[in-house]
């Protein structure tokens, strides 16, 4: 053996190799294979079949509806999340911990319950059901219900990514800006926003990915009307249950691509933010 010295607190090279091998095995079985299965199944009958399934009328309607839901959901949770982060991180008021708990609550609520609560309020036999029916307003089985359920499910994403960072950065800079006479909006745009922009963007991306991919909550409020209230994940379910596997996996592959792009962007953003934090220190 060589005279190379291994510190007593380090593991033997064979042990490390074993650990790395085991970790890679776990990642391949649990993460890589399911992802690969989506694309292999989508292309099983060839790319033209997969593309035709995506370009078919009901699929396009589902894609449009998904984009519409996300286009409403993300701004709502962006404004709410940033406002909440500002109030919690930069100001003082009683009941702060309760507020933070309430903001994080949707993460521990089943998506199905997220859909259920809006049916209880707006459904045909819900609290406001008769009132809405008398005025011919559709919430459940229509776009408003889909949006409400999706807003609930993606509620904490922006707040959760921005709030800790804003708390960490303290409020000295904002206090200085206020002392120098800056308005709240000026302070936010010129002082706070540049400090949190990467985290904010990451939060928006995660919120968007979840909004487009949400299944359980929208499944409860959608009514599954093809071409009308079917989002992409619900369309995947319908195709799958009709044994149109190639089509189901083709639409699923599109959603998987969205997930992959989000993941890559998030990783890049974290690196950008990390470099920034490191450079400032």
């Amino acid at each position: 053996m060589s005279a190379r010295f291994r510190p007593a607190h380090a593991d033997a090279p064979w042990a490390n190799a074993l650990l790395a091998g085991a970790a890679i095995l776990v990642a391949v079985v649990l993460l890589a294979l399911p992802l690969a299965a989506v694309f292999v199944e989508a292309l099983r009958r060839g790319l033209p079949v997969a593309l035709a399934a995506i370009l078919e009328e009901d699929s396009l309607a589902a894609i449009r509806l998904t984009l519409a839901v996300a286009a409403i959901t993300v701004p709502v949770n962006l404004v709410g999340g940033v406002a909440a982060a500002w109030a919690v991180a930069k100001c003082e008021f009683p009941g702060k911990r309760l507020l933070v708990t309430l903001i994080e609550l949707p993460f521990s609520v089943s998506p199905v319950i997220a859909g259920l609560v809006f049916v209880l309020i707006f459904g045909a036999q819900g609290w406001l059901g008769p009132w809405l029916q008398a005025r011919d307003i559709q919430v459940i089985f229509a776009l408003p219900g889909l949006v409400l359920a999706t807003v609930f499910v993606t509620f904490p994403f922006v707040a959760r990514t921005v709030m800790p960072l804003m708390q960490e950065q303290g409020r000295e800079e904002e206090e200085a800006a206020a002392t120098l006479g800056a308005s709240g909006l000026q302070t936010f745009l010129r002082v706070t926003l540049p400090n949190v922009k990467w985290a904010l963007l990451a939060g928006v991306l995660l919120c968007n990915a979840r909004a487009m991919g949400e299944f359980g909550a929208v499944s409860v409020v959608s009514g599954h009307i093809r071409g009308e209230t079917n989002t992409m994940p619900l369309h995947v379910e319908i195709l799958y249950n009709e044994y149109q596997f190639a089509g189901a996996f083709a639409v699923a592959a599109l959603l998987a691509l969205l997930g992959l792009v989000t993941l890559a962007a998030k990783t890049l953003l974290e690196r950008a933010a990390g470099r920034r934090a490191g450079g400032a220190a």
């Binding site: 521990s108 359980g216 996996f249």
Partner: protein, 282 residues
């Protein structure tokens, strides 16, 4: 003394503006989207009366579905403890080609829509799937369309929670304590068992709680692989959907409320356990 302090600390720092506006927006947002809807869930079941709620929950099919959801979530989170620890350790402590890819891939279950994960895992573990076929041929195990399939789906969705809570703690821990233990003559297994693992225990418990809470309510990735046989592979969220389809709103809300209260009770218990752990280490 106090005079100099008062002078040194500017006493008239302007407070950061915008509390009124941001708090107003926040309260409207939290109130309309979270508080009022969850209040509806808390109130609706009692339309049946206390006896009615009890009766609605005591149905064998409901009890079985709750047992399947909570049982599978427990098993999956227990499986995820060693797997999550292994992956966190590998990312933080080891260096090998592909480590960064592995690091990025761990968040895949967060990013992949649950319905996509559901049909992918089903294709993989079905009796004729890439993994399902050999498991069936070699061990005679049926994974998809059985309770094992539910556990597999919940392991998938829960894995990143444990990795991402343990990872930062492991990173911050440094190796000083391990070096000290080694210097004092501890063997490597002793160091890992008595120094490293206890320091990671609170984070493991937090990750376990997060993964468990997520798994209990999980729907999209489970319903494709479960088979959904009443009394055997039917999960509680699916029962809520079925009751809603029968316009049994109060019955659906009863199951939902029971699920929420049960999982909050378990999370509270985990929280208390964690406090005891922390106090014990002091």
């Amino acid at each position: 003394m106090s005079a100099t302090l008062a002078w040194a600390r500017p006493s008239r720092v302007a407070p950061v503006p915008g509390l009124g506006l941001t708090l107003g927006v926040t309260l409207a947002w939290v109130g309309l989207i979270v508080v009022v809807p969850l209040a509806a869930l808390a109130i609706k079941p009692w339309e049946l009366g206390v006896a009615g709620v009890a009766q609605s929950l005591a149905e064998p099919r409901v009890l079985a579905a709750l047992a399947v959801s909570f049982g599978a979530a427990l098993v999956a989170s227990l499986v995820n403890l060693p797997l999550g620890l292994l992956l966190a350790w590998t990312i933080v402590r080891l260096d090998f080609p592909g480590r960064r890819v592995l690091d990025g891939a761990i968040d895949l279950p967060f990013a992949l829509p649950t319905a996509v994960a559901g049909i992918a895992l089903t294709a993989l573990f079905a009796p004729n799937g890439w993994l399902g076929a050999p498991l069936m041929a070699v061990f005679g195990w049926q994974v998809a369309y059985a309770q094992a399939g539910i556990v597999v789906a919940l392991v998938f969705v829960g894995l990143p929670f444990i990795v991402r809570t343990v990872e930062p703690v492991l990173r911050d821990m440094g190796r000083d304590a391990e070096e000290a233990a080694a210097t004092l003559g501890a063997t490597r297994p002793q160091t890992l068992g008595r120094v490293v693992l206890p320091a990671l225990a609170p984070a493991l418990l937090t990750g376990f709680g997060l993964a468990f809470a997520r798994a209990v309510g999980e729907y999209g990735s489970v319903i494709f692989i479960a088979g959904n046989m009443p009394m055997q592979t039917e999960i509680a969220p699916l029962l809520i959907v079925i009751r809603l389809e029968q316009f049994d709103y109060a019955g659906a809300a009863s199951v939902g409320l029971a699920m929420l209260l049960l999982s909050f009770a378990i999370l509270l218990g985990l929280n208390l356990l964690q406090r005891t752990l922390r106090r014990g280490r002091r």
